[in-house]
């Protein structure tokens, strides 16, 4: 089992993602899709990725 991400790391991801979205402006959606594809490649687990999509579409 992988340990859950530390609060320090999560805060770093939080800031970086926010800054990148601001920086990419009107291309931020495209940026996020690229990021999702890169993450999917790193994850290399299609069931896990499906579950993440299901989680992310909740409560929008």
């Amino acid at each position: 089992m992988s340990q859950s991400i530390s609060v320090t790391d999560l805060e770093r991801v939080y800031d970086r993602l926010a800054e990148a979205i601001d920086r990419t402006g009107s291309d931020s959606e495209l940026f996020l899709v690229k990021l999702a594809l890169l993450t999917a490649e790193t994850l290399n687990n299609v069931e896990h990725f499906d579950a993440l999509i299901e989680c992310a579409v909740q409560d929008l």
Partner: protein
Amino acid sequence: MHQPQVIPHQSLYFPYQVYPAFMPSPGVVKRLPVVIVGAGPIGLTLALELARYGVRSTVLSAQQQVCEGSRAIVFTRRSMEIFQQVGVSEAVTEQGLPWRCGNSYYRGQRVFRMEALVDEQDRFAPMTNLQQQYLEQHLVDAVQAQPLIELRWGNKVIGIEQGADHAILQVDTPGDGYTLQADWVVAADGARSGLRSMLGLKLEGASYEGRFVIADIRIKLDLPTERLAFFDPAWNPGNTVLMHREPGDIWRIDYQLPADETPEQALHPDSLRERINAQLAMLDIENTGWELDWSSVYSARALTLKQYINDRVIFAGDAAHLLPIFGVRGANTGFQDCHDLGWKLALHIKGLAGAGLLASYSDERVKAAREIIEEAGKSTRFMAPPSRGYRLLRDAVLSLSLTREFVRPLYHWRTSRAHDYADSRLNAQNDDNLLFADGPRNGAPLLNVRLAEERYLFDLLAPAFHLICFTDAAQLDEDVNAQIRALRHQGLPIQVIAIAINGGGQVQHADLTLADPHKLFSARYGVLHAGAAYLARPDQHVCARWHHLDAERLRHGFNQALGHNGGDQQ
């Protein structure tokens, strides 16, 4: 009164010939065994297929000349193998341009290169480019040399009525109209099939929004015969442009229309000129001295009829299904329809088929169309994204592909391939199919084998079932031979090919003996020991294979392949 165009179509390269219209002689209504409606590549190929089995057919062409414009220009290896069976592959090879590579570009960078494998055991290249007019002309020439086929130019079907064991066609001509009775009608009348509408049949599936201009220009370009695809070029943002070389310095340029443009606007000469010049400029070609040969607008659709046999009317080619052009799936799918249908209809007409044989045409080919639609949908969604989500993903992949290898295979076109009828009802049930570690499995087409310089297995195939026996004996097994004789006595065409695995002379009772001294043939077919055999249908698809053939297993194999079992299954 039907009045086809009698002025030859304009072309920069093709010498159109107008054929005289067929006029009926007054008198009795004739009953014909097979009437093929449509004299495009599919109708003509089917007529030639039927003639190979001795079945007479009448082909009705609404026009008096071959098609206008180059239309289908890429023919796959499997299509070439089918052309070989009907006698036009040499002419197509002689004129056509063989190729195997495709390139995809984004922002001036080649981000993907497809290289189709070339197997030295194959006679034909993975792809051959030739304008459809030439193919149709070769087919027309072959048809006119075939006494079993009557080709009637300028005859348009305007009505159909189905009876219990026949159909009645109303045919209009430039002279008088007339009535025809046919035991079987084959609807090969293309994408806008009149017979499909007259019978009220609906295609099922998806239509895509993306529309493409297809333009053929004559220009000398120093580029190899390879497919070129340009994504999101500066002159046509967000859209896709394709280029193919055709023989005679003709280039096909396909480009997607902006969403808000009508076909009329897109085909306006000023619009065509500006965009083609922009595409050429992107390739650093400043030559504006090109000439336009033909242009048209195409929209991607992925549709099929639910079944291809409706009482006495059998659908084939675009009349049966409309498939996206990406991946060269249009005509290439239609030729496989013809090849599947020809022998089945012939054996059915001759009374040699079980109840399930003809029905298996519809089952096999509808399933093939559905699989092709599934695959083609992937390419189409990438080439012309149908929604905001698909566009975002496609654009993300384009962007990532500049630096990341893993997304580049998404550019692949999933080119049309020979279909594999793995779960066909015609495949043997209790053979050794699953015990073979290699070779074509049940449902797949036979693999070609290069026997010598310019001599291949497929050159030698007769219009018959093919029984390929791997043997180290001087003659076929006596019981197997007796079984073959009994089947032939019923009228079944069977070609026995002996593979002499230890070399040696002619194997007795075989129609053909091929020596296999280097075990090349055996290896390609996954055969380790003498006694093994393959049974292939007349369309070359394997329907049974055995490690050890005996007469009883052969009888079962034929029984299944002729549709005697499970005939009422769907």
